[in-house]
Amino acid sequence: MSPFACIVRRDLLLAFRRRSDVFNTLVFFIIVVSLFPLGVGPEPNQLRAMAPGVIWVAALLASMLALNRLFAADFADGTLEQMALSPEPLFLLVIAKVVAHWLVAGLPLVLIAPVLGIQFDMPADAIMVMAASLVLGTPVLSLIGAVGAALTLGVRGGGVLVALLVLPLYVPVLVFGAGAVVASGAGLSAQAHLLLIGASLALSLVLSPWATAMALRISLD
């Protein structure tokens, strides 16, 4: 097995044996999204209008919550040193870790979001667009978040620092992601928004693993 596949498999196995962590993210997402209708009131038009924003903000916060798990355990038990000393380039191993992280923390959100969309009485085509924007957008969140998580490794109060570091970079994804759903609701094409999210996915796929690997080496120093 290649080191890349080995890391993906290992992280999925670890997540499977520590299931509570996975459910934390998902439950947080469901709770936040479900509380809004209760707080705002049962006016269907209002709910339909705010659904894209609420779901996207909740997805963003949920994936940020999961960030500190990305490297912290590997850092604490010395596995991260072994990865840095592997003959395999570190950025490849970083991509493997981010892929596994997205499968565990991002994909469940994407899968449950349509159900939550029904809860907000969203029309079917808006739900389709939302799912598409989340499929493209949540990997960007994981990739950008990895840089933040790597930079704040071993720092006390790192959780707040990660939020401050990555939130400004999350904002464009949020704007385009929620914007895509709003546009489709208004009868416009969501294509432009989705293309822009796709572009940021391509960009972060190239830049973020490299930046994360650099940040990890600094954190290990």
């Binding site: 097995m1 290649s2 080191p3 080995c6 890391i7 290992r10 196995l13 670890l14 044996r17 520590r18 355990a73 604490a76 038990d77 010395g78 596995t79 040193e81 072994q82 990865m83 840095a84 000393l85 592997s86 003959p87 395999e88 380039p89 191993l93 290990l220 120093d221």
Partner: protein, 222 residues
């Protein structure tokens, strides 16, 4: 051949050592000694390339390791203070992952044999969580037995030429210590290099042993 050239290490505003030069040739063992806090672990981490020295450089085969990171990594096996084991995974899974990460072709049988050799074959299918401190250390050290000295000839990819071990004897019982000493001795005799730190007297026989004592009260300390 591993060379350290005029290494200087500063942690915070404290200089741990300065102008430290030495070399380790094949079939040599370097024993780093010194009091707690003298900078042994920092020196090992510098030799691995995890830590950048404030001055000087580490060379492998005459070339600075910073310029040949992956190539050097393939020749290196580092076992640090931390065991690099996952509590939730079994000993066997941990060892397989460790071997794969280090760039070995690691089969399940080879991993099992390595655990068996370190005397933790019985625990192969137990999660690390259930093992004692000494057993965890043995599982971690099983990476040395994994495609170590035996399969080194012929295939440069299998087995590391340079072992860097940070307190390998910590938490081990006497039988395991003796076994590890044998393992180290056979690696060195086969032409490998070992750099290690320990506070115990080393009983590795028939091996060229170098010793560096890091002094905590060196005048370099500011």
């Amino acid at each position: 051949m591993l060379e350290a050239y005029r290494l200087e290490c500063t942690r915070g505003d404290r200089t741990l050592f300065r102008g430290l030069s030495f070399s380790v040739a094949p079939a040599q063992l370097l024993h780093l000694a010194g009091a707690n806090g003298a900078g042994k672990t920092s020196l090992l981490r510098i030799l691995c390339g995890l830590l950048l020295p404030a001055h000087g450089e580490v060379r492998w085969g005459g070339r600075p390791i910073a310029a040949m990171r992956e190539e050097y990594a393939a020749q290196l096996l580092y076992i640090g203070h931390a065991n690099a084991l996952k509590d939730e995974l079994t000993a066997l899974e941990n060892l397989e992952i460790g071997g794969t990460l280090a760039g070995r072709r690691c089969t399940r049988d080879a991993a099992f044999d390595a655990l068996e050799e370190l005397g933790v074959g019985r625990c192969a299918h137990l999660p690390i969580r259930a093992l004692s401190q000494g057993q965890r250390r043995r599982v971690s050290l099983a990476r040395l037995a994994l495609g170590g000295t035996g399969s080194r000839e012929g295939d440069g990819k299998n087995g590391a030429a340079l072992w860097i071990l940070d307190e390998p004897f910590a938490a081990l019982d006497t039988a395991a210590v003796a076994h590890l000493e044998n393992l180290i001795a056979s690696h060195v005799t086969a032409g490998g290099m070992v750099v290690l730190t320990t506070h115990q007297p080393l009983a590795v026989t028939a091996v060229t042993m170098l010793r560096i004592e890091l002094d905590i009260d060196m005048d370099a300390r500011r």
